[in-house]
Symmetry: C2
Subunit: 359 residues, 2 copies
């Protein structure tokens, strides 16, 4: 139901996704009216919801008042029951990001060893698969330990989705030298170096904003404020440049003729940096997989978010994050997360890992 | 002497600048060898220096060991003597940024009411003059009061250089709503709103990364970590897109033919977003005007930095920053800067404002 276009975009994307993945099954959650057209689709189960979280609803409204929202019910599908079984392996939404994070966190809870979930997305770069950046806005003030957790979760994500076992991690900073940056960043650098020398991650060192696009590392880690500014700055610049190019090529009859000649080249260029190909941000660190599509996604873009969620589920992202974070924290005797390590929590995680594979 | 190219770029730029501004005079500071060619130039005085701060020198080296560096001597030219007279009204360098800030701060000191100098630069945007952003890396951890000072200094800068008396200021955040962001950002929002309702600045509210390019406001204020990441992210994306466009147009004989046809349009586009036109970052908040050219600047770009410094000096940037910051702080009885308001400091500032105009 979410995003700027709702089912007019999400349903065609689902249809294309099902056609491309004969082994996949979908649970579609939304209003009965909107989903009436898909009751007889193959490999689809329809679950109706009486409410919808709107794009401008506050987190409060989404969390406390709309308890029968399509968003809430969709997230419920990935929640493991007492036997560790969930109806779905991953949830994809194009809805309100703040509400999606809050409801996911409330319904699913965080994985053991994770203080705060993070939002990870791929930005187009000189690297064919793009560069994975996190956090992109879920956490404003982060400690060094949070940044370490982001690095571990990002590593698990790239390993699962791209099949790259030892992706490199950069710490976003304002200079390459280890002495640069705030105290938190310097401490995070030390934790990341330690985790790297223990073999839990592959830490490259500090990177700067331009390294996201140079793809100096596979993953770039930062706090959510900085990540969000970087993402929106890049989106803003790309959109301005695209507008200027259009204006220049439509200036007069000569430039319009030039546009016709240049069109195939420009289209090739456009496809190469098409952010739609990278649609589908992962909400990492939860006891269930949730992916967020851009609200403005078209059917092609939304299908990519479905693909990303499918790959993550198929390649055991949840278990990878869980295993890696525990390994890393166990190697750090001074970890502030030890307090969370009570046996009730542990057994819950273990049972979660027994999720039946439905797809 | 500074920058990637040294006098081979800066001297031709100086020559072009002098030709364009018959009323301007230059003091060129550098090694005797490098400046031998300009001893007989009109309206030029040569001051020799025995040392040069290298691009990779630490701040320590620049500050403590190279006391006869061209950078140090150039900054000395804008320092007011006991009578409030300085040899030059502004200093321009393409050298090591960290060293330039440290030496400027050490030699010139900050203006009354300013805790920390900031680096302000213009980023190309949908606004014809570009959008002024500060701080771009001088201050990593900022308080709300620092962000207010940046807003006031940025206002004075745009007023002086663009002749726009009431430029709008946006606070860089991760959402437009006043409740978004960290505690520091929320407090800064309150201070900025207060200063705006008192008529000292023209505060628009929160802006996001993309608003820099949409030119939602004339000025965007942020801490130096976030500003530096935003700047380098934009530079990195621009450089990747430019590389990709070149690759696409040189792919084969057909794309090369398309390039010939599209060239005039692409050149027009390129000129429109040419960052060289905006070269020349201001080090604001010091008792003297210092401008930083990009290290990679060519002669055209370096000349723009000279122009920017010239306009700032001519339009009384120093006095504007001084007056605005005092007005703003006087209207805020709870300001933490009151402690600096001792009479010795005040008389120093007043004498500074009596600088003889040499140009």
């Amino acid at each position: 139901m979410g995003g700027d276009h709702g089912p007019s975009v999400t349903l065609p994307a689902c249809k294309a996704f099902l056609a491309a993945h004969p082994q996949a099954q979908l649970i579609l959650v939304g209003s009965a009216d909107a989903l009436a057209v898909c009751v007889d689709w193959q490999r689809v189960r329809v679950v109706t919801a009486s409410e919808v979280v709107e794009m401008d609803d506050s987190i409060e409204v989404a969390l406390r008042r709309k308890k029968d929202s399509s968003m809430r019910i969709a997230i419920n599908q990935v929640k493991a029951d007492a036997r560790g079984v969930s109806a779905a392996q991953a949830c994809v939404s194009a809805g309100n990001t703040g509400a999606l994070m809050a409801v996911s966190r409330y319904v699913l809870k965080t994985l053991e060893g994770i203080d705060r979930p993070a939002i990870a997305a791929v930005m187009p770069s000189e690297r064919p698969g793009g560069t994975t950046v996190l956090d992109l806005g879920a956490n404003i003030d982060c400690t060094a330990e949070h940044l370490l957790q982001f690095a571990v979760m990002g590593t698990a994500l790239v390993a699962a989705v791209e099949g790259l076992e030892n992706p490199s991690v950069g710490l976003l900073n304002i200079g390459e030298e280890a002495i640069k940056g705030s105290e938190v960043i310097k401490q995070a650098g030390e934790l990341l170096r330690q985790a790297s020398s223990d073999g839990h991650i592959n830490f490259y060192g500090n990177v700067e904003g331009n390294d996201i696009f140079k793809a100096t590392t596979d993953i770039v880690v930062c706090d959510g404020f900085v990540g969000n500014v970087a993402l929106k700055t890049a989106e803003g610049l790309a959109s301005m440049l695209s507008k200027f190019i259009k204006q220049e090529f439509t200036r007069n009859v000569f430039t319009k003729m030039a546009a016709v000649v240049a069109m195939p080249v420009l289209n090739h260029f456009k496809a190469r940096v098409d952010h739609r190909r990278y649609n589908g941000a992962a909400l990492l660190g939860l006891r269930g997989l949730v992916f967020k599509s851009h609200g403005s996604a078209d059917a092609f873009a939304f299908e990519q978010a479905l693909n990303r969620a499918f790959d993550a589920a198929r390649n055991g992202l949840l278990e990878r994050v869980h295993d890696r974070i525990l390994e890393t924290l166990q190697a750090m005797p001074t970890s502030p997360n030890e307090k969370q390590d009570d046996s009730a929590e542990s057994s819950k995680v273990v049972s979660l890992l027994g999720i039946a594979r439905t797809a």
